[in-house]
Symmetry: C2
Subunit: 443 residues, 2 copies
């Protein structure tokens, strides 16, 4: 087969790239390893036929490219259930509260606010196109988020809250991640509140029928250009073009999590500088778990279904019921070390721990779901971790320039390559469209 642009990976980035190439009057072929499109988005049909997502699902108001794309494809949105009181499990007790600020010790809240302001001020100093050029970049990149939090938080409560945020946003521990990466990521999202917020933030709305519909819609438009169950193991490349398995093309866009790209046999081999960069871009660790009930019983109790816990293993929970409100679905995330530990338990023990979390947060009725769904993205051979990568210390400043630079005819796309909403579905779409524009400019 011959084409102008071969795209490896039919996630949002790859499909958006192929779509942009085709819209510009060029031809594209997408090779996808799985027997489905969508990458880290994946719909799941519950017993009653309603749809939930076991992958990425939310969209926020500033994620404009994802929203525009969904609109074009006729995928509507609806608000995440955000009425009623939230719950926080904190130091052995359970507290209900309205709005964004949990009802815990005001000294901790003030400390948290102070640290957050400091974090946001620092984040604004990090250019999202080139984090390595930030003032004091080397120092920011030479320490973990943990080190910075330990030095900056005056209360252990504030530390715990940021640890929960770190798990919730990066699916990583503060120990794992470069501070510079945290700052880059906050800046790429706009602000801290936009990252963690429901209404007004990245968790504001959901997609009717499930987020995977966006990938499915793009794939439908691309038609026979999308080839499933076609893992790419080898890419032969030269200035004039590439051979990707049995596809010959002028350019290739590799639209995979960076950690997976070296699993392709490039001939000739890629430069060491690029290979060593992606050795330093590990994927996060998350289990997404849902318990299903005949109705969202917590709503009648005045609860929003949103919860956080300092005890785990479920650290963050949401009401994930379909727009109709039936069945009731509680969504819990296990992230970072909780996810790593959960992955080594038997399925029964893991489920028991997760249901126990729901029981503690939402009452005994939560202990009796009619259905249970879970998904670990570290187990997925073609993803190997979610939500995205958390750069290790030193990586941005020693290797960052290699991230987005094409290598001859090889270009890159994926949520990790985005400068706006890095790590999110919106970033994936942006990176795909940007890669397509860069490729088209060379054809």
């Amino acid at each position: 087969m011959e084409t102008d642009v071969c795209v490896v990976g039919a996630g949002l980035a790859g499909l958006a790239a192929a779509r942009a190439v085709v819209a510009a009057g060029r031809d594209a072929i997408v090779l996808e390893a799985r027997d489905r499109v969508g990458g880290r988005t994946l719909n799941h049909v519950l017993a009653d036929g309603s749809v939930v997502e076991v992958g990425g699902q939310w969209v926020g108001p500033t994620q404009t490219r994802l929203l525009a794309l969904a609109k074009q494809l006729g995928v509507e949105t609806f608000p995440t259930h955000d009425e009623g009181e939230n719950v926080i499990e904190w130091r052995g007790g359970l507290k209900r509260y309205k709005g964004a600020i949990p009802r815990i010790n005001p000294a901790i809240l003030l400390d948290t606010l102070r640290v957050q302001k400091k974090l946001e001020r620092l984040a604004r100093s990090v250019p999202t196109e080139s984090p390595w050029t930030a003032p004091n970049a080397r120092e920011l990149d030479g320490q973990t988020f943990h080190t910075w939090l330990k030095r900056t938080c005056r209360t252990s409560g504030a530390y715990t809250l940021f640890e929960m945020v770190c798990e919730g946003v990066w699916a990583a521990e503060p120990h794992d991640v470069s501070l510079l990466h945290i700052l880059f990521y906050i800046h790429s999202a706009g602000s801290f509140d936009e990252l963690v917020g429901t209404t007004g933030g990245a968790q504001e709305r959901r997609f009717v029928g499930g987020s995977q519909r966006i990938a499915l819609g793009m794939a439908e438009q691309l038609g026979e250009r999308v080839l499933l169950s076609r893992p790419v193991r080898r890419i032969v490349h030269a200035a004039a073009g590439v051979t990707v398995e049995d596809v010959r093309a002028r350019r290739v866009i590799v639209a995979l999590p960076p950690a997976l790209t070296p699993r392709i046999d490039f001939a000739p081999a890629l430069p060491g500088f690029r290979d060593q960069l992606v050795q330093r871009m590990p994927q996060g660790t998350v289990w997404k778990c849902m318990a299903v009930y005949d109705e969202p019983f917590w709503r009648a109790n005045g609860l929003s279904g949103q919860a956080t816990s300092d005890a785990g293993p479920v650290r963050v929970a949401f009401d994930n019921s379909p727009p109709s409100g039936a069945p009731g679905v509680l969504l819990g995330f296990l992230e970072g070390d909780f996810a790593r530990q959960a992955g080594r338990l038997g399925a029964d023990e893991r489920r028991a721990q997760i249901i126990d979390s729901f029981g503690r947060l939402f009452g005994d009725r939560a202990r009796h779901p009619i259905e249970y769904v879970e998904k670990s993205w570290a187990e997925e051979e073609w993803t190997r971790g979610c939500y995205g990568c958390a750069m290790t210390t030193g990586a941005w400043t020693s290797f960052g320039e290699a991230l987005r630079a094409p290598i001859g005819p090889i270009h890159w796309a994926g949520a990790e390559y985005a400068t706006t909403w890095s790590g999110y579905m919106d970033g994936a779409v942006r990176s795909g469209e940007d890669a397509a524009a860069a490729v088209l400019a060379t054809l």
Copy 2:
């Protein structure tokens, strides 16, 4: 083909493993991607026919398994040239000194000694079999070596000296590496002085005819059991056995740098816990560069040929002349960021910078070599970085248990798996012999 044990990789670990399997009366086949054996050891023949190594080369007095193996194979050792004065380029000047302690500001030397003692005391608290069980392991693993040095060094001079050590030993920057990994590694070598020392340390002796002779000797004994130019792309495994490309075996020992293992397509896919561990085990970055002269002219000037520099790009230099003393060979290492930057220069510019380093350290005559040799291990498709891996923060404590654990019929070997002399040729041999013993116990 059928065998008892298939070994992937004919470096020191893989060959030592196969040799131990055969010695126990079982059969083994070694599959090697390259057209040569030796992995990270590699002889290079100079124009006059004498041999130097562009890979691992030294052996120290406590590296007893490597020494015993060399003896069995008839590979003799000779002392690293360690007579005369050493040189340090420091804060714009050049100082000559005898022994281990450079003639710089005594306050810096005292500070350095204090920090070293603290480091060694901490290192002794880290069990080499299970670093994650060290007292306070999580805290030690949640910070970079840089963070610890910044907090512990009272002088910037001491920091610079440890930065040079970090590059010299780990081919990484203090920013890159978990403090817990540094401590584990020191403990696995015995002590700090043993790591960095020439006489009495890991750089004490060299192998006559080049270190690769050890791998070549083992390969000769194994004969037709070693198959070259046979990259392993796929391993199908079940409890009963494995299929490694076209070799069927009861067990497989994967003897590669951990970062390379996910580049093999395992069927079924490996557990996420293991895959995510090796996403956090990046290889170091080093260029090994040698300039050749008709004689080791520095010796006549009373110099040992050993040098360090706070300016770089050559940070550490040695007299690497053959045992005969002719020709004269100066060996310089570019490590960590110096190596990363050097890899992006043109060959002429890189050579000019390196020769300029030699000129500053050893005088103008060093500016006129008759031959020049360089090797970057990040560029090597089948290694992707040297000397070994430097664990990122959080990796040992969140994932360490996955490192040495077999997965069904799959066992692991390589310098990174060793508990004694991790990262060294001696550790590679130990890990190979240990893996063989573990496999044999299951047959």
